[in-house]
């Protein structure tokens, strides 16, 4: 109770005192060269990252007329637009006849610190083509090819070849922010590392109280041992996802084991995580954190991995992050090294690739019989992938039929084997080998056992 009170106080403190206001700034896009006249569209996205009403902006003095706006954008006086975060996603579109003629606008904005909940609210400027896809790639680490992102943490500008993007103060009005922000805000040109919302190490304790966690014997909750920093969400029109770059630092005194995962909690049903590797028992998306064999040492960080939200209904949400890590019973995540060969990495030599073993445990670790059946199944799929002749393929196929009979004995409705098989063919080489294997089976006949024998098709006792 005391802890809850403390945390709530901290939360209120954070909400009340961590907003920042940017008065009188100018955004400028200027071409360094004269190119072939090219039309394009500047879009200004205003994204609610935390589900709370606490950020807003006013935009005026557009150097080209706005053509369209949606969401919470409005135009109270001609040429002046206001927007706030009472909606999840709002956009203002400005069509440019020639992008090499440059573009600018002025803005005032107030952004709030989301505290421990959610992502920072953001205003994002992008340059799009006629289909509203990015006109050029930029150095945007979220992969959305944005030009600039503004949030309570300040401003980030991304490199775009042939152009200069800048955000400058239009007058000398004082800015109520630390000196770093003042430095950054004056004549910002070029590439800045995206800075992230850093969660106070004390705060994750609260998460333990608010969210139920997936129960996997092979994993433990290490949220209290790490700090998590999240960048504001940026919308990628290519992947139709809202992307955040995440950094996790080990603030404990012990190594945290690989494999490591983030469980994204508290999101509405219609919001999904595009790059999740699975869903928890409660339906929370689970994202793999790129921490490999050696684990995460004290003080060490893993950065620049992206969490991508799909939010077709544009609902507001406040996502929580829970970090899970292996207790040491599972092999470590082999990462890209696990994808270099057809065979992959099987560090414990049990015939199942480490990445697949982790996948099975993560998703079915709490169902021992299914887990054993899927392990048997994964073995046969892998034998098919590495088969090079018809004999080996037919043997792998017969073994796969036995594994399917076994899994159907355990649960005829289960679709888990389809998941394992798609995960197993995760590289072009494996996919092609998998198809070639099946081509060697084409035209052959495969007997099934009578149902009274399906139990015996398990390489383990499915009853105990």
């Amino acid at each position: 109770m005391y802890r809850f009170f403390l945390s709530t106080t901290l939360l209120l403190f954070t909400l009340l005192f961590s907003s920042s206001t940017l008065f009188a700034f100018t955004f400028t896009l200027g071409a360094n060269t004269v190119g072939t006249p090219t039309s394009g569209t500047v879009v200004i996205d205003f994204i609610d990252g935390d589900g709370l009403d606490n950020s807003s902006a006013t935009i005026n003095n557009l150097s080209a007329p706005a053509s369209f706006f949606d969401g919470t954008f409005s135009e109270p006086t001609p040429g002046e637009f206001t927007v706030d975060d009472s909606g999840f996603f709002s956009s203002l579109y400005i069509d440019l006849v020639d992008i090499y003629s440059g573009f600018s606008f002025d803005f005032d904005a107030t952004f709030s610190d989301p505290g421990m909940f959610g992502f920072p609210d953001s205003m994002v400027v992008s340059l799009l083509d006629e289909f509203y896809f990015p006109l050029f790639p930029t150095s945007d680490p979220t992969g959305a090819d944005a030009l600039a992102v503004m949030s309570f943490m300040g401003t980030d500008i991304y490199e775009l070849n042939g152009f200069t993007v800048s955000i400058t103060e239009t007058n000398n009005a004082p800015v109520p922010e630390p000196s770093t922000w003042v430095l950054l805000s004056i004549g910002l040109i070029g590439l800045f590392y995206m800075r992230r919302r850093k969660i106070n190490p004390v705060l994750p304790i609260v998460l333990l109280m608010f969210f139920s966690l997936p129960a996997h014997a092979a994993f433990e909750n290490v949220t209290a041992n790490v700090s998590i920093e999240r960048s504001p969400l940026v919308y990628s029109r290519t992947s139709q996802t809202f992307n955040s770059v995440v950094k996790i630092t080990n603030i404990s005194e012990n190594i945290i084991n690989s494999p490591m995962f983030i469980v994204v909690t508290n999101i509405p049903e219609t919001v999904s995580v595009n790059n999740a590797v699975s869903l928890s028992a409660e339906g929370s998306p689970i994202v793999s954190v790129p921490v490999y064999s050696e684990g995460l040492a004290p003080g060490q960080s893993v950065e620049d991995f992206i969490v991508k939200f799909h939010n077709p209904n544009r609902v507001r949400f406040t996502a929580g992050f829970t970090v899970m890590a292996g207790r040491g019973d599972l092999p470590p995540n082999p990462g890209t090294a696990g994808n270099e060969t057809l065979q992959g990495v099987d560090s414990n030599g049990n015939g199942v690739r480490d990445d697949i073993e982790i996948y099975i445990d993560l998703n079915y670790g709490d169902q021992p019989k299914v887990k054993e059946g899927l392990t048997q199944y994964a073995h046969t799929v892998q034998n098919g992938i590495v088969a090079t002749n018809q004999q080996d393929s037919i043997q792998a196929a017969n073994a796969q039929t036995r594994a399917i009979e076994c899994l159907m004995y355990i649960d005829p409705e289960s679709k888990a084997s389809e998941e394992i098989e798609s995960q197993a063919v995760n590289t072009p080489e494996r996919f092609n080998a998998w198809m070639a294997h099946q081509e060697r089976l084409s035209g052959q006949v495969f007997p099934l056992r009578s149902m009274s024998e399906w139990k015996a098709s398990c390489e383990f006792d499915p009853e105990n």
Binding site: E418, E419, M435, P447, L448, E459
Partner: protein
């Protein structure tokens, strides 16, 4: 660690043998009918696991339909697999463009029906790619990349089963109907009496033989597409629709296990269709024996090829010595096409420890005038394989002692569990 490791090894070994084996009493149950599942083109490219799962769900459904396990013991279920990957190249290209680096897992997810992966993608992307795959499937059904040669081995299995006195009922889904019609035409007039098709979602305008009609949903989008394409091309359109998908778990209303086995009326048609077909088909004369191991040799128009078997004892079983220690050459043919047939009975295999070991099967090209293609179909509980080789010239009786070897069956018995294990090795 070593003790624990050893224990795990023992357990693994124990269960591995356990899993590939059957009890002696199960070897000796005579089978009256074989139900084959002929898979369709799936979502543009068929996958083995989807086809096996469909076969297993058909078996499960039919067992539930019969209710009495003693009735189910009369049947065995098999998958006649066809990959039909004619459009794979186009499909992979489209997947690369749509999904980027992660295309292999996502494409496999589409082909296998992995809902979890598809839920991670925007609905519009899933919808568009499904539409693309549906179009590929329709094209494959209108102009198949497969040829009738692709069903040769299936036909060998049908012939072998019929020869052993079993009725053959082929439940064909989608493209499987094209293969089913081809197969029917390759059976002899007498064999075709004991063979029938249960057509499901057929793209064909006719069915060569069905005793129960067919089933097609009016809202089966794939067959509707085939119908439109064939109508435009001026070729006969598919068998008419006669049912509707009340479940709608599959938005295409086309999948075998996703749509036709789920909807209650279509499911009834399929399950009663098997039962009715079985009762209407006459009992085939048992021209060759049923056994735990059976081997059937067929060939072309040249007069005489001979099947040679070497039993684990070294006993050579062939036309001049037709009774072995454990099996018999019960059919010998000297007038083209075959078949020749060897079977090892379950009583002999389960009663003699000497019957455990390697059975080797070969062919001698005895008399003929041109290179001849021989097909040897080896069947055991849980594994079956057709091996094809071309023999360049006839060797007369001089080849009897050194036939061309086609494949082996290795029989083993677990002393603890008493279960038998069968493995086929092609040569």
């Amino acid at each position: 660690m070593s003790k624990k490791f050893l224990a795990i090894c023992l357990i693994v070994t124990f269960f591995t043998i356990f899993s590939n084996s059957v009890f002696a009493e199960d070897l000796c149950v005579p089978i009256k009918s074989v139900v084959y599942y002929g898979n369709g083109v799936g979502k543009g490219v068929s996958t083995y696991s989807d086809a096996v799962k469909s076969s297993a769900l058909l078996e499960l459904g039919y067992n539930q339909h019969l209710g009495d396990p003693s009735l189910a013991a009369d049947y065995t279920f098999k998958l006649a697999f066809n990959q039909s990957a004619g459009r794979l190249g186009d499909i992979i290209e489209a997947a690369k463009q749509t999904f980027g680096d992660n295309w292999p897992t996502i494409l496999a997810g589409f082909l296998l029906g992995n809902d979890l992966i598809l839920r991670l993608l925007p609905d519009s992307v899933v919808q568009n790619f499904n539409d693309f795959l549906t179009n590929q499937a329709i094209q494959e059904l209108v102009t198949p990349s497969a040829t009738s040669e692709d069903v040769n081995n299936h036909v060998s299995s049908y012939k072998s089963d019929i020869g052993e006195g079993k009725k053959v009922i082929l439940v064909a889904h989608s493209q499987g109907n094209i293969f089913a019609n081809w197969s029917y035409q390759r059976l002899s007039a007498s064999e075709s009496q004991y063979f029938t098709i249960v057509p499901v979602a057929s793209p064909e305008s006719i069915v060569r033989k069905s005793l129960v009609g067919h089933v097609r949903f009016s809202d089966d989008l794939v067959i509707l597409g085939v119908q439109a394409a064939k109508a435009i091309a001026g070729i006969p359109t598919p068998l008419p629709s006669n049912d509707s998908d009340e479940v709608d778990a599959d938005f295409l209303s086309h999948g075998f296990k996703e749509a036709y086995l789920k909807d209650s009326s279509a499911r009834s048609f399929i399950l009663y269709g098997i039962e009715t077909s079985e009762s209407l088909l006459p009992d085939p004369p048992m021209s060759s024996g049923q056994g735990t191991i059976t081997v059937t040799l067929t060939w072309g128009s040249n007069p005489d090829l001979d099947l040679h078997t070497f039993e684990p004892t070294g006993r050579h079983v062939y036309y001049a010595s037709r009774t072995g220690n454990f099996g018999y050459l019960d059919v010998d043919d000297v007038s083209s096409w075959g078949p020749e047939h060897y079977y090892a009975s379950c009583e002999k295999i389960s009663s003699s420890p000497l019957a455990i070991g390697r059975y080797q099967f070969g062919v001698n090209y005895y008399r003929g005038y041109s290179p001849e293609t021989a097909k040897v179909t080896i069947k055991t509980p849980g594994a079956e394989q057709t091996i094809t080789k071309t023999l360049p010239y006839s060797r007369g009786s001089g080849g009897n002692s050194s036939p061309v070897m086609f494949g082996d069956v290795i029989v083993s018995k677990n002393p603890t569990t008493g279960r038998f294990d069968f493995a086929i090795e092609a040569r």
